[in-house]
Point group: C2
Chain length 196, copies 2
């Protein structure tokens, strides 16, 4: 009779959710079964239901926790008096850190949000839209202040957000490049380009 172990500052529900993030990342939400999740914890599937409400709820917890983290950071950046390039740099670096610190959760939020049920799906997409819009606003302001070259703001935001998402692939290659070099190179590439 194995037991679910909660880490120091978390509930058992948190421990389950953490494991779920890892499983959902590896196999995808729909291809992950509750029996598999339970196995990875060392317990029977039905035992999980003493701590969680449903499989869907696990996905919701993961996605909205990630969204919250990004939204809170964004609010801080918006409140700062930095110029637009600095704000973008700040945001890019935060994305990189989130991806490296909370790999499983960010990955799942990025890839499995489609499997959210209504009304959560709508809520999530809405939050993402607002986040994108805030970044577009920063770029637009930068263009007006001639800090940023004339480019379609949404294209720039799309490029930045997508590039940063690509760090998902990084875990395979971590050995070759240090985090700081990675971070600086990517920031430099996205802000100043490749050409000399």
């Amino acid at each position: 009779m194995a037991k679910i172990k909660a880490s120091r500052n978390g509930t058992k529900k948190d421990a389950i959710t953490k494991k779920a993030a890892g499983l959902f990342r590896k196999k995808g939400f729909a291809s992950s079964s509750m029996r598999e999740l339970a196995d990875s914890i060392g317990v029977e599937a039905s035992s999980l239901y003493n701590h969680i409400g449903s499989k869907s709820e696990l996905l919701q917890s993961i996605c909205f926790k990630v969204a919250d983290d990004f939204n809170k950071h964004l609010a801080g950046v918006e409140g700062s008096g930095e110029n637009s390039i600095s704000k973008l740099e700040n945001l890019i670096r935060f994305h990189i850190h989130m991806m490296l610190d909370s790999y499983d959760e960010v990955f799942v939020a990025n890839h499995e949000w489609k499997q959210l049920q209504e009304p959560f799906l709508n809520d999530f997409l809405n939050q993402r839209k607002l986040y994108e819009n805030a970044l577009v606003e920063i770029v637009t302001t930068g263009i007006n202040k001639t800090e940023i070259k004339n480019i379609h703001p949404y294209v720039a935001v799309l490029t930045i957000l997508s590039a940063v998402r690509g760090l998902e692939f990084w875990h395979r290659h971590k050995k070759n490049v240090g985090i700081e070099e990675l971070e600086n190179d990517m920031v430099n590439h996205l802000l100043k380009g490749l050409t000399k």
Copy 2:
């Protein structure tokens, strides 16, 4: 008794695979059922098996067709005598066009390859690795020839490939920006950066 309609230059299998790509993109491979696919064609699920081998086979067809298209284009670029920046520009523009022309298929290849079964999974990942390596080689050569600034080549390749993948989100916003403007802005951003 409905019938499966093959388009002019394709088999019925092709018609099914095309529909499958659309369905897999919308709902994910694992969350798509053969009954659903059959419904969208207007036929019973079991009838599909007169034309295809299995659900997995559909995914394989989609993923490897996309991989082939990219590999063939890459071979052409490698054989050309262009400098490295032009090669990269050529590749970026091809990725953009593929994403816009074969949206469903490229999306599925990008998102659902994890659901491939062995040995196809290994094969697919191997091909992608080779593709990445070829791009790294182009960037490295560019750096040596001082056409490209000093940057970790893999970071640059990762940034480019990820940015281009982000065009998946484009279909939602097509109305606001023309394809050419999008293409030019993204190429410009990735090669020359944002700052003035």
